[in-house]
């Protein structure tokens, strides 16, 4: 190392991020909130739907789709919502509440790396959820693979961006882990209703569906479903998700406190 480099700001070695990721991955395994709610429950629901024979009947009201085919995108949205609103803020708020962020802020580690590691871990979980749901749906229950893969991936990424931004906003404003849970619940259940978990969008009255498509998970399911059927997702749904991503990222940025 040159003398000049020694005199320059002592940012932590790159390897620190790898170590941080490894620790966060261990914690995700040891406290498997994200694994259970974001991954295991949706997969179980998928298997339950898959096992119901009537879920594989083509329904005229669903535009000729089966209930099962309609639910795969809904369960993907469920995973993203759970990971984004419960798992992601929980870790960050707990770290702040316990003083872990405070301790870290006396080291050369930039606090933003902690945030980045949390986002990365939950993104990987969401990606697993996507792959497992699609693969199990196709391989075990004969669902059709997404007919517009590019549109499907784009819809997935925008859904993650919108919901993770909301999760970071929860992490920014919640003062305790229990407050974060309450906020997450207050957001998640209405959003997953509009996504169609209890009542697919196709069954909703037109007015309700229109409102739903302005919500991030409603738009997400709309985009994922049309990509599954081979259409590029409607611009409206992509714009809705992008707007949520930008607005909540800004809100989170402005209100985030490390202590």
């Amino acid at each position: 190392m040159s003398a000049l480099e020694e005199a320059l700001p002592a940012s932590p070695p790159r390897a620190a991020f790898g170590k941080l990721l490894a620790c966060e991955a261990r914690l995700a395994w040891r406290e498997p909130i994200g694994l259970v709610y974001g991954l295991a429950i949706p997969v179980v629901l998928l298997v339950v739907f898959g096992a119901i024979p009537s879920a594989h009947k083509h329904e005229a009201q669903l535009g000729g789709l089966t209930v099962f085919a309609v639910y795969v995108p809904i369960l993907i949205a469920f995973c993203i919502g759970m990971l984004a609103l419960f798992s992601l803020p929980r870790a960050l708020v707990t770290y702040r509440e316990l003083g872990i962020l405070r301790r870290l802020s006396t080291t050369p580690l930039p606090p933003s790396w902690v945030l980045a590691a949390q986002v990365a871990i939950n993104f990987v979980l969401a990606l697993w959820a996507l792959i497992i749901l699609v693969v199990v749906g196709v391989a075990a229950f004969g669902a059709a693979a997404p007919k517009s893969p590019a549109g499907f991936v784009l819809a997935f990424l925008l859904s993650v961006a919108a919901l993770f931004a909301m999760g970071l906003w929860v992490a920014a404003v919640a003062r305790s882990a229990s407050a974060a849970n309450v906020m997450a619940g207050a957001l998640f259940f209405p959003l997953i209703f509009f996504a169609g978990l209890w009542y697919p969008q196709q069954y909703m009255p037109a007015a309700l569906r229109d409102v739903g498509q302005l919500t991030p998970l409603g738009a997400s399911v709309q985009a994922l479903q049309s990509a599954s059927q081979g259409h590029f997702p409607p611009a409206g749904s992509l714009l809705v998700m992008a707007a949520y991503a930008v607005v909540f990222a800004l809100l989170a940025w402005r209100s985030f406190r490390w202590e």
Partner: protein, 331 residues
């Protein structure tokens, strides 16, 4: 262990200073920090030389923690300047955090990470870190290396916290109440460790409300009360400032009148606590007291002699005890 105890006298501070003509490790000038309703730190100034163990001693709420939190950049002072090796903790955060190892009072670690994992993680934040194995041994944590943080006892958490303050091989270690919650043996081991760390040239800023800790470890001590430094000197000089007095404590074999002793020129005051008698004075106090008592047919039992301490200095300077109601045993 005994070998370690003698290093303080054998001039390690001068050795460390002889190493280079670098400036002071830490300069604090006119530091002031208020919270709504209170002035936590009021015009505090001090300078810590490289290789020094500098103590900040005072009762709870005196502003010790606020001072060091400003020093390590966790809090923004209302006014005043702080320079750590010429860096400003508010401007040069990265440099300051790379050369300062901090142990905080109010901080925790991930409950479900193991001791070795935490050390390995924190080690990765620094360019030239210490050896994890050595630290585990020095702090008696080797057999706990695979334990979850949440399963550690208070003392073990405290020792891990100290290990994390040292794992980056800091130039300055800022330790806030490092031995709180440790058992006596662990405290002595920790003191030995701090001395060996200083012997390697590390500057130590030690916040404590333990007198024995400050007397044993510190080259200089700032006595802090109500946000101000009331005195700053070596522990010995501070104790001498308090009058250089001595104190004899004993249990008399039979009752005697106070005046028997208070009329002696060597005796300045007499105090009775339960069946103990405490006599403060100067000169050849011990012999005079015992001989006078013997002359009156009184035997002094359980005789305990103390020289003036930092506690006395503190009481003299502030009119208050360092920790009211707290048992203080001089080391």
């Amino acid at each position: 262990m005994d070998r370690q105890a003698s290093t303080k006298e054998s001039g390690t501070a001068t050795d460390a200073k002889a190493g280079g003509e670098a400036g002071p490790a830490l300069v604090v000038e006119h530091l002031r920090k208020t919270y709504p309703g209170t002035v936590a730190v009021d015009d505090v100034s001090f300078t810590v030389a490289e290789g020094e163990i500098f103590g900040i001693l005072g009762p709870n709420g005196a502003g010790k923690t606020t001072t060091v939190e400003c020093v390590i950049g966790l809090r923004t002072p209302d006014s005043g300047t702080i320079r750590i090796m010429a860096f400003d903790p508010r401007v040069d955060r990265a440099q300051v955090h790379a050369i300062v190892g901090a142990q905080l009072q109010t901080s925790a670690l991930q409950p479900k990470l193991r001791v070795a994992e935490i050390l390995d993680l924190y080690r990765s934040f620094y360019r030239d870190p210490a050896d994890v194995g050595e630290l585990l041994d020095a702090l008696g944590l080797r057999e706990k290396r695979s334990a979850y943080y949440k399963s550690l006892s208070g003392g073990q958490k405290q020792r891990l916290s100290l290990a994390l303050a040292l794992v980056g091989r800091p130039k300055i270690a800022v330790l806030d109440e490092m031995t709180t919650g440790l058992d006596p043996q662990a405290r002595r081991d920790t003191w030995d460790l701090i001395e060996s760390v200083r012997d390697r040239g590390v500057t130590v800023v030690l916040v404590t409300h333990y007198m024995d800790e400050a007397e044993r470890l510190c080259d200089r001590v700032a006595l802090v009360d109500e946000g101000r430094i009331v005195a700053l000197d070596t522990p010995t000089a501070l104790a001498e400032q308090a009058g250089g007095g001595k104190r004899v404590r004993f249990v008399p074999s039979q009752p005697f009148g106070d005046r028997l002793l208070t009329e002696l020129p060597e005796v300045t005051s007499l105090e009775r606590r339960g069946h103990h008698v405490l006599v403060n004075g100067t000169g050849d106090l011990v012999n005079t007291v015992i001989l006078t008592l013997a002359g009156a047919g009184v035997t002094a039992n359980e005789v305990d002699v103390q020289s003036a301490t930092l506690e006395d200095a503190f009481v003299k300077l502030t009119g208050r005890h360092l920790h009211e109601g707290d048992e203080v045993t001089a080391g």
